[in-house]
Amino acid sequence: MQTLIKNGRVIDPANQLDGSFDILINNGKIEAIEPQGKISGSKDVPVIDAKNCVVAPGFCDMHVHFREPGHEYKETIETGSASAAAGGFSTVAVMPNTSPVNDNRSITELIFSQARKTNLINVFPIGAITKGLKGESLSDMGELKEAGCIGYSDDGRPVMDSELMRRAFEYSRMFDLPCIQHSEILDLTHEGCMNEGIVSTELGLKGMPVEAEDIMVFRDICLLRKTGGRLHVAHISSGGAVDLVRQAKAKGLPVTCEVAPHHFTLTEEACRNYDTNAKMSPPLRTHEDLELIKEGLRDGTIDIIATDHAPHDVADKQMEFSKACFGIVGLETALPLTLKMVDEKVITLQKAVDLLTHQPCRLFNLDKGSLGVGRDADIVIFNPKTQYTIEPEKFKSRSKNSPYKGWKVRGKVLHTLVAGKTVYSASNE
């Protein structure tokens, strides 16, 4: 079974490739990448015409919540995978804050098994740092790795106990997987529901000060300096935290971080009118933070883009702001929002692709995110110029919570392939 992708601009940062190439897929693998017109397949090979489009490795999102098991009314591995495919993602890592929590082999295996049944995209589980995400005792990190987990996180809940976090860094060294921290000192954010600042003051909402993030990032960097191991800071939102990561990197510490598109496109202002779709954790910050995040993207302090895809049913969002759930459907708006950074000349188009493909796979040691000959044909084809209006009601995700409704954006996914199979095609919509 062959497919030929013709006439596109291939961007493959892993192989420093950017130019006009055709790609031949055979039996789910990339068989050849040659300058345009050089591949002479037989006449009956199906052709995907990628004229005016970018052809890149399928995007890889190292931070999503697919809610299964436990909260299938918000999302399942099947609906989450469809959402990913529609957003151009061929690989995701799912966070362990399911019910029950992914802190043991049987849940990890369940996730793999559901993903196999769905058979759309590559799903890699992240295991819990602590049993039940309770922050009391370490999970069996060895068992989780053997079962297939690619990192450890208590995401949604920070590991508040510094002694326990120290042991987590130490123990995880044995398995060479990163600890992904949701950095938030809970004592400072108790009952908080948005960034603390002028908007929370005006709305009379309890704020979450940016220092809650900075302090925990700093604490973890200090611990890491002592213990070794690897720290990956999840969804960085504070300009101060970006600077802490920058300094740690300068000292050669194994610290990396990710940013979610909403933290470089929205500020606390989006919470005015009590729009619960703008309620995130970490919260949308100030304009100054936004600029410092962009600086972090520009100078490479921020390693990857990850969406923190957090679907919530209407019933969990359509309510009083202080009671509503935190989070946003991220997968289906990630590309246009990232391309906004290209339009604003914060990063180049090649860098944007790099942040969504090669870099995440490099950090998490995944054999994905690259177009080399012989590799799985995980490919996204997108037109970076196509303009359209974001319509959350058309999302493939089971949930529609997005503050981007009505935004006019550029950059549309036309085709997503996983192992050579089309898992999303805009022409079927």
Partner: protein
């Protein structure tokens, strides 16, 4: 002339003309409450629902009396008797009430933004009777009515608001309304009770009561809540009183024509001394009286003006 807004969610949305019109209308309604038969037919046949999810005596009664003096049918629903205790959410409760065709809904709720949320799901006009720490517009309007009736004009007056600004919807509504009317506002309290970036709202911030009240025309004292002590925002009520209780000593260097107001309920001896509360400059009961007139004005302007006669 109609108000510029369909709902009264906050003073933030009210223009200077709106506020003037509400105060003028309230002035004209004051007289109704002094009659032997305290009723006018303005809202006969109209239904008002008071939906109170938080305990309230003064405000709920004031809205109820205001509706009844305009001849409206007033229904009171309190949090403990509503279906929300059975797990029904705010929006469903409101939609069900809406299905019985009320003409206006008054809501008090412990969550900031609750009134605005409600307004997105029901068609009847909404009056916010206090949402979390956000706004309590009818309180600010009755405060302005009280000040105006003693000072004649609001423009240029200086006001000090003393107490727990952080958790106060009364303070937020007053700051916005007073600024709209050309008044200058200073907030006074210990730093943990002043919200961050307060200066960006165009108010002065002070932590020294005696200094802060020297040149003001009006002092608004806010109720201090006991639970702030347990939240670590106050060391003790005793120490709070030492620095921020309005006493005759702290008033020694203030203007002769100073007015003192308080939204109630008062913690006697904690935020205000008994003799000050009952002294000649205190307008606390006057505020309560004016509350009825202001709420009559709000009902009338939102509902009755088109098809009724205030007399």
């Amino acid at each position: 002339m109609a108000l510029s807004t369909k709902n009264i969610l906050g003073t933030k949305e009210l223009t200077k003309d709106d506020i003037q019109q509400i105060l003028d209308t309230a002035d004209s309604f004051k007289e109704v409450s002094t009659r032997a038969i305290k009723k006018v037919p303005a809202l006969r046949g109209k239904t008002i629902i008071n939906l109170f999810f938080e305990p309230s005596t003064r405000t709920r009664t004031s809205f109820e009396i205001a509706g009844k003096r305009l001849s409206a049918d007033v229904i009171n629903i309190s949090g403990s008797t509503s279906s929300t205790v059975k797990g029904e959410n705010l929006i469903d409760t409101a939609r069900n009430l809406e299905a019985m065709s009320p003409d206006i809904m008054v809501i008090r709720h412990h969550c900031s933004g609750a009134a605005e949320l409600l307004s997105q799901f029901v068609d009847s006009p909404i009056i916010n009777a206090g949402d979390g720490s956000h706004e309590h517009p009818s309180q600010a309007l009755l405060d302005l009515l009280t000040i105006r009736s003693h000072k004649g004009d609001l423009e240029g007056l200086k006001v000090a608001i003393v107490g727990d600004i952080n958790h106060s919807r009364v303070a937020r509504s007053n700051i916005r309304a007073m600024q709209t009317m050309g008044m200058k506002v200073r907030v006074v309290g210990p730093p943990p009770l002043i919200p961050v970036e307060m200066e960006r709202l165009g108010v002065e911030v002070s932590h020294n009561l005696t200094e802060a009240i020297k040149d003001v025309d009006v002092i608004m004292v806010l109720r201090i809540q006991l639970e702030r002590q347990n939240q670590g925002l106050l060391s003790s009520l005793r120490e709070y009183s030492n620095y921020f209780c309005l006493t005759s000593e702290s008033l020694a260097h203030t203007r002769d024509d100073l007015l003192i107001i308080h939204p109630g309920p008062v913690n006697r001896g904690i935020e205000i001394a008994l003799d000050v509360m009952e002294g000649p400059r205190s307008l606390i009961l006057n505020q309560v009286t004016n509350g009825v007139a202001v709420r009559m004005a709000l009902f009338y302007l939102l509902l009755g003006e088109k098809n009724a006669n205030p007399n």
